[in-house]
């Protein structure tokens, strides 16, 4: 059964090729069938593979399928191989599962589009690339998926290619991602330099006995990889592309910019947990960047009026949570949140999508209001997901976020926890701000037209995702030991053999004469302090409710309040303008580069080429100079002979 693994990414890719080449001839319905058939098929295959994996003998946690040698150069041999292990299985399930649902939704959403087929060509291709990303058994294959999804996201953001803003957003996304990829490549190069291989199994098994704990190399590798992750997962400082990416059609935002692609960074960091375990410094960096982003993005999210932008910033901040979790070593929590987030954020996006769809592509929330009667299903599902993301018991978000906060406090420190908590509060606030502005209050759109719930094909996915968002939390119920299914499932992946690390590093440090640190990041046991845990849950619940009530007061009870209190405050302005980060990047990086290059070009013509043409000019000049001496008078010629004679005479004597 496992043997079928290679089909999983292939099917969507084939689907994409078919759509791309014959889409126009086939007609929309056929295209729709093919486009949705692919992902669903690969979802089923994933289930089969999962079954096969469960049937593997006890203690076998990794199963590799090597298709062929991709790049064989001397001792550098990269296989095209897939690795099936708990982590990749989880990702595959999420990607193909959520992916299929969103594909179905997209059929409804994009149906009016002329280049329907083009959309699904990209969409399927994306799914294939994403599956390669999570299934690859080495860094380079991951990189194929990594850039593949980036490329598809570029296509899909720029789907409406006649809109300049869309094209700019697409290009921006690609280039910003490239910055990350640059670091990623360097990371991979470092890894090969250290391990002489880039296969996960080799590298991770060799790592504890190759890299010294906290050594420069270890840190460099991790930092580079993490920078790569920030690019893909829109973390500080490379987050700016994600909000702009909302130019793409809503299903794209749901699948690529919320559920799957943007979490690739988290997956990668989780995948390399062994390496990160070797470098406490980089762990801290990950944690703080994550926490920082969580808060930072949330603050921006509070003041946005474009419904999708709010969701975009909330995505950024949620991924921040995941990194926070990774940073404190709570990889399970990170993946857990990744899953739940995939559910509710996808649902939210799709919901917003159906609203936008029903509101004739109006995205400004200030022009909504009181839509709950027009969009009953959307409203309910949206509400569920919102509660989930806000972290209300017993919805999925509650468990996952809460686990992260718990670990932030226990394995991290109070500051990280503070960040998390603030983020949670803000999240609850702006999400409900969104809900209230959209579905409640009095209608602010012109009443001439009647918003309408979209067709079944779009509402069904909403329901499914809402359901997942509701019950998804059951995957990992904390406190009660053994009920945390996900934890036990992922344990083999995230198990770090601390003892080997400590032994190797210790002797190595002694040999090198460094003082041996306390390996506290490795040694300390994740404590199970049940009362504390419960009390923390209470606290975070309170925080969430606090956020909601605040939102309630501002946007339902006293709708005037925001303007009267905050109107024109510099803080609000700053947040509204997203801290003017884009502007500054443009001013201090982009413009100077372009202008600089322009002068370089001029210099190229003037100086570098000038030297060449200059030589020619000099020769011409000389030849003009020499001309008059050929005067045509015999006496001159004779004179020159005599002069030459004297010159030679002098030379000889």
């Amino acid at each position: 059964m496992l043997q079928l693994a290679w089909l999983i990414p292939l099917i969507p890719i084939l689907g994409s090729i078919v759509c791309g080449l014959y889409g126009l001839k086939l007609g929309k319905d056929k295209v729709a069938k093919i486009a949705c058939g692919g992902p669903i098929l690969s979802f089923l295959l994933t289930l089969i593979v999962l079954l096969g994996f469960l049937l593997l003998p006890e203690g076998v946690h990794v199963w590799e399928q090597v298709l062929f040698n991709w790049i064989p150069v001397a001792d550098f041999v990269v296989q095209w191989g897939y690795q099936i292990d708990p982590l990749s299985l989880v990702m595959m399930l999420v990607v193909s599962g959520v992916g299929s649902v969103i594909h179905v939704y997209a059929v409804g959403y994009m149906y009016e589009e002329y280049s329907f087929y083009r959309f699904f060509c990209y969409f399927n291709l994306f799914l294939g690339a994403m599956l390669i990303l999570v299934m690859g058994n080495n860094f380079l294959l991951m990189f194929i998926g990594w850039e593949g999804v980036g490329c598809c996201s570029y296509f899909l953001i720029g789907y409406y290619y006649d809109k300049k803003s869309a094209c700019d957003a697409g290009t921006k996304a690609f280039v910003v991602n490239r910055v990350g990829d640059f670091a990623f490549i360097l990371g991979v190069l470092f890894i090969f330099n250290q391990f002489g291989s880039i296969d996960y199994t080799t590298v991770f098994s060799a790592a504890p006995t190759t890299l010294v704990y906290g050594s420069e190399t270890a840190t460099l590798i991790c930092i580079f990889l993490f920078i790569g992750a920030t690019g893909k997962s829109a973390q500080i400082p490379l987050y700016t592309w994600l909000p702009d990416a909302m130019e793409g059609p809503t299903p794209v935002s749901a699948l690529i910019h919320a559920a799957t692609m943007v979490t690739a960074g988290v997956y990668m960091v989780a995948r390399c947990n062994v390496l990160f375990a070797l470098s406490p410094l980089s762990m801290n960096i990950v944690a703080f960047v994550g926490g920082g982003t969580a808060v930072f993005a949330a603050t921006i999210g509070m003041a946005q009026n474009d419904i999708k932008r709010v969701l975009a910033y909330s995505t950024v901040s949620q991924i921040g949570y995941m990194f926070l979790a990774c940073g404190v070593g709570a990889y399970t929590a990170a993946i857990f949140h990744l899953i739940t987030h995939a559910f509710f954020k996808a649902c939210l996006f799709l919901g917003s999508g159906s609203v936008i769809h029903g509101m004739h592509h109006e995205q400004d929330m200030r022009k909504y209001g009181g839509l709950k009667d027009h969009f009953p299903i959307t409203h309910i599902t949206f509400l569920v997901s919102t509660l989930a993301i806000a972290g209300i018991f017993p919805l999925s978000g509650f468990f996952s976020k809460d686990e992260i906060l718990f670990h932030a406090l226990m394995d991290g420190n109070i500051i990280l926890w503070g960040m998390g908590a603030t983020g949670a509060f803000l999240t609850a606030f702006y999400m409900f701000r969104l809900v209230f502005m959209t579905f409640y209050g009095e209608a602010k759109y012109d009443l001439s037209f009647h918003p309408h719930e979209p067709s079944k094909i779009m509402t069904t996915p909403l329901v499914i995702l809402a359901g997942l968002a509701f019950f998804g939390g059951l995957l990992g119920i904390p406190i009660i030991h053994g009920w945390h299914v996900l934890h036990d499932w992922l344990e083999p992946v995230f198990h770090v053999d601390s003892q080997t690390i400590i032994d190797y590093s210790t002797q190595h440090m002694i040999a090198a004469g460094h003082h041996v640190p306390t390996f506290e990041a490795l040694t300390h046991e994740p404590s199970h302090n049940v009362p504390l845990e419960i009390s923390l849950m209470g606290v975070s619940l309170l925080i969430a409710i606090g956020g909601i009530t605040a939102a309630y007061f501002f946007y339902i009870k006293f709708p005037k309040l925001p303007d009267t209190v905050m109107g024109g405050q510099w803080g609000l302005e700053l947040v509204k303008n997203k801290y003017e980060v884009d502007e500054h990047i443009d001013e201090y990086i982009v413009q100077p580069t372009v202008e600089g290059s322009f002068y370089l070009w001029k210099g190229d013509a003037k100086v570098v080429d000038g030297a060449v043409n200059g030589a020619a000019a000099v020769i011409n000049w000389f030849s003009k100079l020499a001309r008059p001496y050929q005067s045509g008078f015999v006496r001159n010629y004779a004179l020159f002979m005599v002069v030459g004679f004297l010159a030679i005479l002098i030379m000889v004597y």
Binding site: F622, R627, Q630, V643, I648, L649, V652, Y653
Partner: protein, 476 residues
Amino acid sequence: MNMIPAPEIDFVSLAPVLVLSVFAMGVLVLDLFIGKNKTILAYISIIGLFISAMSSFGHADLPVSSFNGAYVVDNVSIFFTFVFAISSALAILLSINYNERVGIKIGEYYALILFCTVGMIVLCSSTDMIMIFLGIEIVSISLYILAGIRRTDQRSNEAALKYFLLGAFASGFLLYGMALVYGATGSTKLAEISSTLVAGGVKSQAILLGGVVLLMIGFGFKIASVPFHMWAPDVYQGAPTPVTAFMAVGPKAAVLAAFFRVFADGLHDVAASWETALMAVAVLSMFVGNLGAIMQTNIKRLLAYSSVSHAGYLLVAIIAKNSLGASSLGFYMLAYAFTTFGAFAIVIILGRKGDENLEIENYSGLGYKHPLLALSMAIFLLSLGGLPPFAGFVGKFYVFSAALKEGYVMLVVIAVLNSVVSFYYYLKVIVYMYMTEQKVEFQPTFSPYALLVVAIAVLGTIQLGIFPGPVIALAQ
């Protein structure tokens, strides 16, 4: 009162010279009895050239020195004899039609070419300064006349006058040089001179060096090297085109051979003193020749200047002073003969009665009106520039290797860079022929003889470029 011992005469060695002289006189006499059409004379002269070239194989084992070492027959001299025969023959072929066109109805013309060739053969095989002087003068005097053979044409006259006065002036220097060398070494025979130098039996170093310098000027003038080149452009332009081609190749080759014998053999021992000066002359010739050519709009002047720069390259071979140098001279001149005659042949073909049509712009669009002519012209120019796989390249390669063998790297580098400059003006002609629209109507006069010359030249150029092996074997 002791007698001058009369040396026994070696007719075998002299055979080429004698044969040619006889034919020349024959032509002179015959001229009186035939009518207006002198073509027959041309045929006879060519036959004469052929026979004399063949007769140079008289000796079984070379080298043979006769007349008390005043005259020698060796590979070099034989090879050069062939170069002369070929070039003179080509010149005659070119002349036949041209002379009718421009109205040169003088039978002596061919006789003069033959006499000139006699002088060249003497020049390249003599090892005695007296003989060398005689050779040079035979060559020069015939050339003075040939240059001015179009008596009614002012340019021709002017060319003759300039060439004559300056030539005589230069011979003065040459002669004085010979005299001083003779005085310093007590002999006019190169062999004895060098032995005296080796033995250190020089009477006065000062006189000797003075002589060397004067010789350098005399020879330098004849091969048109800077700063003694200034006659060349004017004379080349003024003289009838076949004569121009002729004097660009044959005499230059002959003088170079003598130059080589005197300096590389005779004065080898004092090379240190003249080497630098000669290098200076060589480098100057390259630069001035190329720079001068760039500006030219008249194809004949352009070729004249390019021949100045070629003189520069050839001096490199003399500076090398080794056997490779001698043979490379021969090969280079042969290649140069083919390319130059080919080029001038096309120049002649493109001219017509009353209009020489020498402006380079007028060649615009030739490549599509007369593709074969243009193609051959391009081949000749590229060969002159030294681009493989044409003869010129092999010649350059040969000369440069001769110099590099002796380690004159800088000199060769300069020469090489100069040939890049030379490409510039050769390409300019090609640009006109292929890359600009036709300006004037072409009215070429296709004469079978000229076309024959072109054909021979193309074959020679390519043959020497692609399969130079046999010829090189001969030259060595």
